[in-house]
Symmetry: D2
Subunit: 134 residues, 4 copies
């Protein structure tokens, strides 16, 4: 069981969403931020970094947005839909863009394939959390 799930199962307060959906989102956000940070470095190590500029930028944006979404969704008390919903929408959008760009490079670069998978999983998990919060 992930730390996220264990923390939710021992949380003293109530949170208005299914713990399985929330823990899945927290784990996916954490993994996606980490994969994107590493993919930036892998892209920079390729022979022609100029081809990877767009991928690097999207990975940097994706890591930043996932990190903020991770923090906000980990603090479930005082949940505010005016903050959480647009933040999750921004996260879904950047995971989609970053996943699409990584897919373009996945044939040549295995690290982009791994990063694409992390982005796709995070996009799905954030959509499911958005639906559960409605």
């Amino acid at each position: 069981m992930s730390y996220a799930r264990q923390m939710l199962d021992t949380y003293p307060g109530a949170f208005g969403v299914d713990a399985t959906v929330l823990a899945a989102a927290i784990d996916a956000l954490s993994d996606c931020a980490q994969a994107c940070t590493t993919d930036v470095d892998a892209d920079l190590s390729e022979q022609n970094p100029a081809e990877m500029v767009r991928c690097i930028r999207l990975c940097l944006d994706c890591a930043d947005v996932c990190t903020a979404t991770l923090g906000v969704t980990s603090r479930q008390a005082d949940y505010d839909s005016d903050v959480t919903k647009p933040l999750l929408l921004a996260c879904v959008a950047i995971c989609k863009s970053c996943g699409d760009e990584c897919e373009r490079h996945a044939q040549h670069y295995e690290h982009c394939r791994v990063c694409e998978q992390a982005c796709r999983r995070c996009e799905r998990a954030c959509r499911e959390l958005l639906d559960a919060l409605k």
Copy 2:
């Protein structure tokens, strides 16, 4: 002149928004994230931290969202409105909530007054950037 403005004035690419508006947002986001981080610590040092729990949580959320928005708006090339706009909306919403909560404590705690000012300025600067990006 702030570093943000100097960096924008020496930026090699084009960015589709007025540099004055963008630099003002970047500076306000950076200051607001810092003020919120410090206000959490100041709140924890007050005699009755239980009264400050909501303020602490909002400051933590505000710092996280401002930091992500700072990163994304600082990378102006490959601007994507599907990411930047909801992110700025989330940032406006949390700056508003956090500023309102800090205002409630501002009479008793000067540090909350300072943090409120940073939140209000950041909320305005993000709204202006949102308008400029339309």
Copy 3:
């Protein structure tokens, strides 16, 4: 297999340390940052937050230092011991302090026990990475 391990296995450059040790550190840092962020929120939800102030501060510091160490160790090319070694030392120290403080509360609060475990594992993984880098 974690994303960290998959990313290292597909990394285009060389890195001067055993991939198993490095991936274990990256995974432990990511989990510890997440556990500490969540534990802050759980501490704030307890009946007497005043008793948890030291735990909250240490968890905030631990999350910040783990996040930076995660970023730097994920970028293995251009490794610089003058940066990485003191950073890992700071991370070992804060994981030790935060783990000790969480242990004090673990009998009463299960979330602190989970966080303690994440801190202990991260402390060990960072020590092993430090040894491997010597």
Copy 4:
């Protein structure tokens, strides 16, 4: 007066270091993290990003370490020299390396000159804080 200085002047607890030195470090860390984040994006926009790979990596490391140091030094209560000193040493080292690399490019790229200045100022401010904490 910066927000950092205003927050310190209204801080409810005691902190064992001169407020002028501490506020100067906090402001310099915040500015340096921001300058490095923007310089990464500027480097990626140059005609030959391959020449800028080392600069990009150092700027990413510098932003991460400055951000963590900013958080830890902003939480002055429960100051722990086993954490803060190695963290400040790591920060001095990365600001020095990043400043040196930016200086190499400063003749051709004005954005690297601005970033170099932010790194040099942050290196000095962290050294002064280290001395003040002894």
